[in-house]
């Protein structure tokens, strides 16, 4: 950057924006403090923040932008947690409640067997009745149908719920599910770790410490996980940063986080009132600050379902390196009013990545390039 931009726009430029020392740390690859994160959020120049995040992203991933061919399956929306920010969950007996049998799920998998999917993503509500054997059966049977696909299933929240229902430890749940074919945990349910916010929004959900403990336990059992942040509701920017710092600390200990996914809160159809949807600038800054703070988590996702395709493409220049997948049948975000398209085809996804100035790389859930994809080279 120095070699290209005249001095008036570079070092001195960040100095003038109050980001001189942050810029130096990013340059040197040093860890940022919470105060650095706050300075980045407060910076009036969106592009300046984006350029720093892009430098960190380019150092890790060059011009690669990843995507995955995947299938999302929501096995049930029946949930005992009743989180206020959720437009998806229903109580048992509700007219809109649904619950898929193992056979229903297999039928969904069979319908797409002719597509070379690398990943099946399975999540659902904390169902009050389904036994652990149901989840084991789901994994085992999908494995038989699709031996090559990775099964990324059940958030740390669901794992803790299964354990409580079955009266066994979370470790035992993890090991049994792994035995049944589980490859990885998705990053959901982290929301914001702040106890203050969780008490208001999701008092019945496991707390942040428990979420991190289950994630760490999975890592140690050889099950990588992702991690999310749900932002743009009642949390402060400081609480967002504390969330990132907690993930960073956990990652130092157990190292199993693969991808971080910042999710903008979509207020429509939820019980959270008086909150406006996040704006593009807030979304891009959150992606950028996440990339810069999370120096030990390899990937940051621009989840286009929540961001829209247009903004997700821009986010590739603000620290994100993953575009997620050709998601079909995504329900959770859309029920909360997400305005994005329902699905993207592979060619459309690759075109958007290329026009953004990046090289599309098809991946599996562990971010290994899928060799068979003719376009990954």
């Amino acid at each position: 950057m120095n070699d290209f931009l005249p001095p008036s726009l570079d070092g001195g430029y960040y100095e003038k924006l109050g980001l001189g020392s942050v810029c130096e740390k990013v340059r040197a690859g040093e860890r940022l403090s919470l105060e650095d994160g706050e300075a980045l959020f407060q910076c009036s120049d969106l592009g300046a923040v984006g350029a720093l995040a892009h430098a960190a992203r380019a150092r890790l991933h060059g011009d690669r932008a990843y995507y995955v061919l995947n299938q999302h399956i929501n096995y049930s929306n029946i949930c005992v947690n009743g989180c206020r920010f959720c437009a998806f969950g229903r109580e048992r007996g509700d007219a809109k409640a649904f619950e898929l049998s193992v056979e229903d799920i297999l039928e969904k998998v069979r319908q797409r067997l002719d597509e070379p999917l690398a990943e099946i993503h399975i999540v659902g509500g904390c169902h009050p009745g389904l036994p652990l054997s149901y989840y084991e059966d789901v994994l085992r049977e999908i494995r038989k149908l699709r031996p090559a696909a990775s099964l990324k299933a059940f958030t740390a929240v669901e794992i803790a719920h299964f354990a409580r229902l079955a009266g066994i430890s979370t470790l035992e749940v993890l090991l049994r599910l792994k035995e049944a074919g589980l490859s990885m945990l998705p990053g959901g349910g982290a929301e914001v770790f702040s106890p203050r916010v969780r008490e208001i929004l999701c008092p019945r959900k496991i707390d942040g410490r428990e979420w991190l403990r289950v994630a760490g336990e999975a890592h140690e059992a050889g099950i990588p996980t992702n991690a999310t942040l749900l932002y743009g509701h009642l949390e402060t920017r400081r609480e967002r940063l504390e969330h990132l710092a907690a993930l960073r600390e956990q990652q130092d200990e157990t190292g199993g986080f693969t991808c971080f996914i910042p999710l903008p809160f979509q207020p429509a159809n939820t019980k959270v009132t008086g909150v406006e949807p996040t704006t593009g600038v807030e979304d891009l800054k959150t992606v950028a600050v996440s990339r810069l703070m999370l120096d030990n988590i390899p990937h940051v996702k621009a989840y286009w379902i929540m961001l829209t395709v247009k903004l997700a493409q821009v986010a590739l220049h603000f620290g994100a390196d993953d575009f997620d997948g050709t998601v079909i049948e995504e329900k959770i975000g859309h029920m909360a009013g997400a305005e994005s398209e329902q699905a993207l085809t592979r060619s459309e996804l690759e075109r958007v990545i290329r026009e953004g100035g990046f090289r599309p790389v098809e991946r599996d859930c562990f971010f290994n390039a899928v060799a068979a994809s003719g376009s990954a080279a």
């Binding site: 726009l9 340059r27 592009g47 984006g50 593009g280 247009k310 903004l311 590739l316 953004g356």
Partner: protein, 364 residues
């Protein structure tokens, strides 16, 4: 950091960037070097620097107005258009006086200060029809009329067999306040021959604007990109505008739009957000004699339009109480003045309601 440098190369974009920062004018090859070679954030930062130099105050303007399409009947048949109906085709309309009056009244009731009035190239209506329409509105309402893009003016003058100069003078006398920059598409004739063969030439478009400026009417300028043009044609368009502006200073703002392909005769994927932001940014640095550059939430959505405020745009456009042309191509975003103010504030700018000529309106 090194990735940015490698992307940039060493010679072309760097020299051009130096010139932009020094406040010097870019020639075509320098603009090309930036457009093709500068990394995304470098291009954005240059555009933002120019924007802050022209508007040091942290403000973003917007206008409360309404698009009124007086007719969709059009003999042009442009391939990129999803709005028009051919004469005799089902669904064609010409607004009645009553409909016109109602739309103006609704606009004023919503705090609007101007109407943007455009329509198809109707095969039969004489110039007096448009004069009467202006006089009718002006006689009843205190509203700024921003109307009749250059292709319409050329069409009226041909049908009436009068000069462009006379057509503009008559419309102005009847109440026309300013001319919108529509119908510019890409101001390169080889592109126009393909996408809009029956519409006025690039030279005619520019001549209408130059004549309007000479007669004291301000105008805007647009570009619709992402159809059949080559990237260099976009820059040729910018340079043609810059040349006229050097002579007249009559353009208030530049407004680039991305072509929306649905329901049109051109099959091509829509421009992506990054392509849009790059074009917006290079426009800001090339058009050094334009005061204002407008973001297009109508085609890009509010999130990307907000991002555009850091890629050269200092204006958020209009509340578009009614918009029909882009909506016909399947793209519908809606924003109230309140929502625009929230988006502008969230980006760190003070929202300022403005007139067509970019004067701020004090909020009561």
């Amino acid at each position: 950091m090194t990735a940015l440098v490698q992307e940039a190369g060493t010679s072309g974009p760097e020299g051009a960037a130096e010139k932009v920062l020094g406040g010097e004018r870019l020639d075509f090859s320098e603009a090309w070097a930036l457009y093709e070679g500068a990394p995304f954030h470098v291009l954005g930062r240059l555009a933002h620097a120019v924007r802050l130099r022209k508007h040091p105050e942290p403000a973003v303007t917007y206008v409360v107005d309404r698009n009124i399409n007086y007719s969709n009947i059009c003999v042009c048949g442009c391939r990129f258009c999803a709005f028009y109906r051919a004469p005799g085709q089902e669904g064609g309309y010409v607004l009645s006086r009553e409909e016109l009056a109602r739309k103006v009244e609704e606009t004023l009731a919503l705090g609007g200060t101007q109407i943007l009035m455009q329509g198809g190239h109707h095969p039969d209506l004489p110039l007096s029809f448009y004069e009467d329409m202006l006089a009718f509105i002006k006689g009843r309402y205190a509203v700024h009329i921003h109307a009749f893009s250059p292709p319409e003016v050329v069409h009226f003058s041909r049908l009436e067999n009068v000069s462009v100069k006379e057509a503009i003078a008559r419309l102005k006398a009847a109440g026309l306040d300013s001319i919108p920059g529509g119908g510019a598409e890409i101001l390169v004739d080889e592109v126009r021959r393909s996408v809009s063969p029956n519409k006025c030439s690039a030279g005619e478009w520019l001549e209408v604007m130059e004549e309007a400026h000479r007669q004291g009417l301000r105008t805007t300028a647009t570009m619709m990109f992402g159809h059949e043009e080559e990237p260099r044609h976009r820059l040729e368009h910018l340079f043609a505008l810059r040349e006229v502006q050097d002579r007249t200073g009559g353009f208030t703002a530049f407004i680039p739009w991305a072509f929306q392909p649905r329901n049109t005769g051109i099959s091509r994927p829509a421009q992506t957000a990054v392509s849009y932001l790059r074009l917006l940014a290079v426009s800001r640095v090339v058009l050094d004699n334009f005061d204002n550059v407008q973001a297009s939430w109508v085609t890009m959505g509010p999130k990307v339009a907000q991002t555009a405020l850091f890629f050269g745009a200092n204006d958020f456009g209009s509340t578009m109480i009614e918009e029909n042309v882009v909506a016909a191509a399947g793209v519908r975003f809606r924003l109230s003045a309140e929502e625009i103010r929230r988006i502008v504030e969230a980006a760190g700018f003070a929202p300022r309601r403005r007139t067509m000529d970019y004067r701020w309106i004090e909020e009561s």
